[in-house]
Symmetry: D2
Subunit: 221 residues, 4 copies
């Protein structure tokens, strides 16, 4: 069995809980309160800086120019068009530029971001690819489901967010990530890769949780 | 006002909550259930690896051999005698070697450790010193209080842990950390230092909380 | 006086020697022996991996998404079209794929590359920008001169290499780098920035020297 | 054959040239001009900061507390007593504190130091151990030879430097480094380890060369 299949099997319950989280289901139905999406999107805006940092370090640690190029292309999506999405989305969600640029990390966002950047700086290329496989793979999965089910919620940002995580946009990248891991598997330390996979998946789940329940604040908040 | 005084003033409520946490008070009284100390100590054993990693990177980033030497001496305390303390303590606390070497990070330990190593690798020397000022300064504070009040709980590990955080052991190091920050203050980015100080303090508080309430587990635990 | 002007003034002799090196002059005239260009280009192919690594770490350390985006765009030029240039160039220069993928660093290339990656990983964003200001600024300078003088050497690779370093291609990026440094100057440690600028400039000069004189080998070569 | 034996066999000519360099032989005989030792020692003083940085990062990346502790003990030798040696040595060698604290890296020292710190930050624990095996192993070898031959040059600093690199001082550490590499060998990328070993050995040889011939200056010196 391939490494990625083995990992997905081992953590299938949590993976399933992430990709079918009420946040996802209600976003697809259009019943998710805008306030929850707003909370989520402000944290995603904070988080994306650390995701960029980790992927950029991945370029630096890439074993080949082709591998570097794949991560570079991934960043193109974030550093160019998505930035525009943030601006438009916050306008529609009623978050002023002052608000979203001043947004600070909740505990989950802080912990997830620190985990990413630490792993990026301390780990090797496969460690970074493992995290991206979880972050992009889970998003591709819920996006694929909602797109396949033809979900067209009335809120334009929900629709755009769903379309952005469809197979045409993310499929090839996630496939490349998986192929990389599977082909590199024999040289990898399995327990370490499994721990990184598991931790990233836990944070993805908690990221929905924190936004959906508007919970998990800092102790002095 | 000095930088460290300013920081302690700004976050005095949380600092005070940390150094007078029920965990501390009950440890001094000897009424803290051993099970809670055991939970705490297993997590401290996991955490100390990341504390060592951050301090070691601090040696690498030190602006002078003297500064490098101060962090090196700090690590002497951890890499030599304290290791022995862990072994003795776990024997008394009834945690087998198999148990403590297999201990895995709770969410707070993971988040705190990732914050430390990320800041160590990404940040500069003052960032690292700021974190150590919080981790060692809070421990010196509660240790000073319990030692000054002559607390002598019957459990030998509690007594040793209290003695280990007394002014003779930690005082000079914490004073040096504070002096370094105060003398370097004019060249530092205050908001960044404040954010690092605040985050480290939050995690120190949460570290007691997690052990005391045996709460804050991972979502799939 | 701006920081960049001050730096260029301080090291103007060496800067001038770099941008008017016989390698440059003869490349413009078309009299540079192809063997020397081939030696140079094989080393540039080795070197570019470390340049990519440093710039990618720069994305990770960027103080803003805009700054990250500028370095990302710079990498687009290297990770996409220039890769193709290498392939075409080596075909014309008579270096087989086996030869150029197996090329190993000469002492200057090794030292320059290690300096870049070390500074990238250890330093801050301004350190990285300082190096790029030297590497791209010197190349823009000699490219601007040769382009302004209408140099059209008969060797197609020489022509393409000259065109690639013209103001339309590199000018805006170098201007942005300079503006960043000048606007950040008040918060920078001048002696450190000057040392980094000087070291990068020395290596750029030595890079031409090593190729032009086919000298400076390892002691056991 | 063990990994370290294989590496020493592959690069035995250069290793032998390093440990029997005229600088070493003449130091043992007491005929080495003090000026050459002074040049060497000023560069060693510059270099040792980067050696400390790399070894400290090694502590941070150590796979076990025991491994961390070994590097920590190695640094004790440098951060405490040897610092005193530098001060005493420079007094005897006629280098004022102003001179040795202002000493700047020659090209070889810069290149070697950048290689160390880059490898420390970018590489894994085995990469760092490989470099230390070369730097400490070559010094142990020449020290063992001179000590075994009973060399007692009249210059006290020469005598002390020879005694400092004797088996009682360095032997156990070098043996531990070798054992670590040999036991980790099956999980290591041989070509990468060989390249690191080779590069470190080249720099050790060049370090003697630069001091002995007072050559290899920067192009603008």
């Amino acid at each position: 069995m391939s490494l990625t299949q083995e990992l997905r099997d081992t953590y299938q319950t949590l993976w399933q809980q992430m990709v079918t989280h009420p946040f996802v289901v209600e976003m697809g139905e259009g019943t998710l309160p805008v306030e929850k999406f707003r909370t989520y999107f402000l944290q995603d805006y904070v988080f994306v800086r650390d995701l960029v940092a980790m992927a950029a370090v991945g370029i630096a640690k890439a074993p080949s120019m082709l591998a570097a190029s794949m991560l570079h292309q991934f960043l193109t999506g974030i550093l160019n068009p998505e930035n525009d999405l943030f601006v438009r989305a916050f306008a529609e969600l009623g978050a002023s530029e002052a608000e979203y640029t001043a947004a600070s990390a909740t505990p989950v966002t802080q912990a997830f971001g620190d985990f990413l950047v630490r792993t990026g700086l301390e780990g090797n290329f496969a460690d970074i690819i493992t995290i991206l496989y979880v972050t992009e793979g889970t998003y591709l999965d819920w996006g694929t489901q909602l797109n396949a089910a033809g979900k067209q919620p009335s809120h334009p940002i929900y629709r755009e967010w769903i379309a952005l995580h469809s197979p045409p946009v993310l499929g090839a990248f996630v496939a490349w990530l998986g192929n990389y891991l599977d082909s590199a598997a024999s040289g990898l330390q399995r327990p370490r890769i499994a721990r990184i996979f598991h931790t990233a998946l836990r944070y993805e789940y908690l990221f929905w949780e924190a936004a959906y329940h508007n919970a998990l604040p800092w102790p002095d908040q």
